[in-house]
């Protein structure tokens, strides 16, 4: 396993809530990518976390962009770096760091365009499963059954009805050289996968699972535990796609797997769910897992041998 880098490129004194998973995400990402990185951030929690001028907590160049333009901005930054004589653009990693809304809903056109144009960039979706910065509104990536302020729970059970949008599948269908899911509860493999992404050139996509204790109505101290439970229950599987080949990593052993219920029950946003709904979620998680296993087998053995 790769050595865990000590150098901090994200500093203290930021405005994230106590126990913020997105803060973990940025910290580990910069540790892996190093100081030759530019970050562009659209409207999202991270637009606020670095601080109000003149305070900021990132040791790397930082560009704020409009909500829907992360992908396009990355393309622009890459093009500008290529033009400059004083910078060796091959040495610089261009990162678009957007939340789930800014990636999967509002920013999906720009993301798709940037990937299709083969921009040399890492597009990051730190997934806290709702528009947390503006006050916990549902996004396309909010999981089924969750309470948010725009899917309030009343007597009729008006929680979110639609399942979580599968961003990895959407990105995979663009034929990216590398895409991976990572989880802040496993910093070592998080850093390892980002270092691996750095080895590739062209568009790369990283889906970070970043628990949000504030929006998920959980205790701040449980932020890391939430990530761990999501992984052990297979709610958020860890896998990478390398030129179309799926590879599940850190797969929980059969005896380690826990029911999804264990993950749901420590979060206030799922507190209202009736038993049959929990079973439905469990069933969907099981199906998704089966699909993933089959994709892994198919792409590794049948398709390529």
């Amino acid at each position: 396993m790769a050595e865990f880098p000590e150098k901090e490129l994200m500093n203290s004194g930021h405005n994230a809530c106590p126990g913020c998973g997105a803060a973990h995400a940025m910290r580990y990402m910069l540790k892996a990518l190093g100081k030759n990185t530019t970050v562009n951030i659209p409207a999202c929690c991270w637009a606020v976390i670095p601080g109000v001028y003149p305070s900021r907590n990132l040791e790397v160049p930082l560009l704020y962009t409009a909500f829907e333009t992360t992908g396009a901005s990355s393309s622009g930054i890459r093009a500008a770096l290529k033009k400059r004589d004083d910078v060796d653009d091959a040495e610089v990693e261009v990162v678009g760091f957007a939340g789930d809304g800014g990636t999967a809903d509002i920013g999906i056109q720009a993301l798709s365009g940037a990937i299709e144009r083969n921009t040399d960039t890492i597009q990051v979706m730190y997934d806290n499963e709702a528009y947390m910065n503006t006050g916990i509104q549902r996004s396309g990536v909010t999981p089924e059954g969750a309470w948010t302020t725009t899917t309030p729970v009343g007597s009729k059970g008006d929680w979110k009805k639609q399942p979580k949008k599968e961003m990895m599948e959407i990105v995979e269908s663009h034929n990216v050289p590398y895409a991976a899911t990572v989880n802040i509860a496993y910093p070592d493999s998080f850093v390892e996968k980002f270092k691996k992404a750095k080895e590739f050139s062209g568009p790369r996509f990283m889906h970070i699972y970043a628990p949000c204790p504030t929006g998920w109505r959980a205790r701040p101290s449980d932020a890391v535990e939430l990530g761990r439970l999501a992984h052990k229950s297979r709610f958020f599987p860890l896998f990478e796609i390398e030129h179309g080949k799926y590879n599940i990593y850190k797969e929980p052993k059969e005896d380690e797997v826990i029911p999804v219920k264990e993950y749901l029950k420590i979060q206030g946003r799922f507190r209202h769910l009736p038993e049959e709904m929990v079973e439905k979620i469990q069933k969907r998680v099981d199906t998704k897992w089966e699909q993933l296993k089959k994709k892994e087998r198919f792409t590794q053995e049948e398709l390529y041998e």
Partner: protein, 306 residues
């Protein structure tokens, strides 16, 4: 006119408290204003809210600079914020703490008074919020009624029953209990109402030149962009957000560095003698205590260390 300033944290209900107080005064026929002031900070960050009450129409719409009453929902703020800034000479300070008013080290003029009430305990007793983050806003309002006499406790109870966002009855009971349990005043004027003050002249509105810095020398040099330096470690001491703090048991600590790895605020480091917390920045999320493999870290109430 009576001007009230609330000091709390995001999530404690300071804004709702300022509104409930204004509503109660309105029910008694007064003219009122209630408004909050906050930046982009998150749950746990210091928040200020204001209430204005007068017999006649309130025409001053500016921020309150010289409050008659300051209400502090969290003693941890005493270190972080200048809570008595601009407080009138004969003002009142009402603090949520289990301590006696005489024990509070607060910088006030000689005619000002300090009151205390353990609103956190009362809130927990009535099931308002959690042990770590009790919602104390309604309880402290009960104490405010008693200390200042500007609103009747029965009116306040009614308003809480009608307008509190949740758990209305528990909130009203908490207010009544705090009304009975308030300690003070210290140094010791007798409890006297503020009714007489309601029709007094409005305070001068500060002129804009007092508030703006027009002199170029006041400004710092702009940094070059793209931004490559950072100053957050000097400018944004987030330690003031904390309501609980991690205490490291150095005998148990095995220097494994897991707490450092999982700290979202980069506020805990492993030295030779064990883990050391940077209290300037620790927000007290408790992840280190949760993740420590040998249970060497415990979370303790911040109030004890202020």
């Amino acid at each position: 006119m009576i001007e009230v300033r609330f000091h709390g944290r995001g999530g404690q209900g300071s804004v709702v408290a300022s509104e409930l107080l204004a509503r109660a005064a309105f029910e008694e026929g007064k003219d009122v204003q209630a408004f909050p002031m906050f930046g982009v900070e998150r749950r746990g960050a210091p928040v200020t809210a204001f209430t204005r009450i007068d017999e006649k129409t309130v025409r001053d719409h500016s921020k309150i600079h010289e409050p008659d009453i300051v209400i502090i929902l969290d003693t941890a703020l005493l270190d972080a914020v200048d809570v008595t800034e601009g407080l009138k000479e004969d003002g009142d300070v009402i603090i949520n703490t289990g301590k006696d008013p005489s024990e509070m080290k607060i910088d006030i003029e000689k005619d000002a008074d300090v009151y205390t009430v353990d609103a956190s305990d009362i809130a927990i007793e009535h099931g308002l919020g959690s042990e770590m983050a009790p919602i104390v806003n309604t309880a402290i309002l009960g104490a405010v009624c008693k200390a200042t006499g500007m609103v009747d406790i029965d009116t306040l109870s009614d308003v809480i029953l009608k307008h509190a966002p949740a758990k209305n009855e528990a909130n009203a009971k908490a207010a009544e209990q705090a009304h009975d349990e308030i300690k003070g005043p210290y140094p010791g004027k007798k409890l006297e109402g503020r009714e007489g003050q309601l029709s007094s002249q409005q305070t001068d509105i500060p002129k804009s030149e007092d508030l703006l810095c027009r002199d170029p020398e006041d400004h710092t040099d702009l940094p070059r962009t793209p931004i490559a330096d950072c100053d957050s470690e000097y400018l944004n001491k987030t330690g003031s957000w904390r309501t609980v703090r991690p205490i490291v048991n150095k005998d148990k600590c095995i220097n494994c560095g897991i707490c450092w790895k999982f700290c979202p605020d980069v506020a805990i480091f492993v030295e030779e003698e064990g883990a050391v917390v940077d209290f300037d920045f620790c927000k007290g999320c408790g992840i280190c205590a949760e993740e420590c493999p040998v249970d060497a870290i415990e979370m303790d109430k911040e109030e004890k260390y202020v």
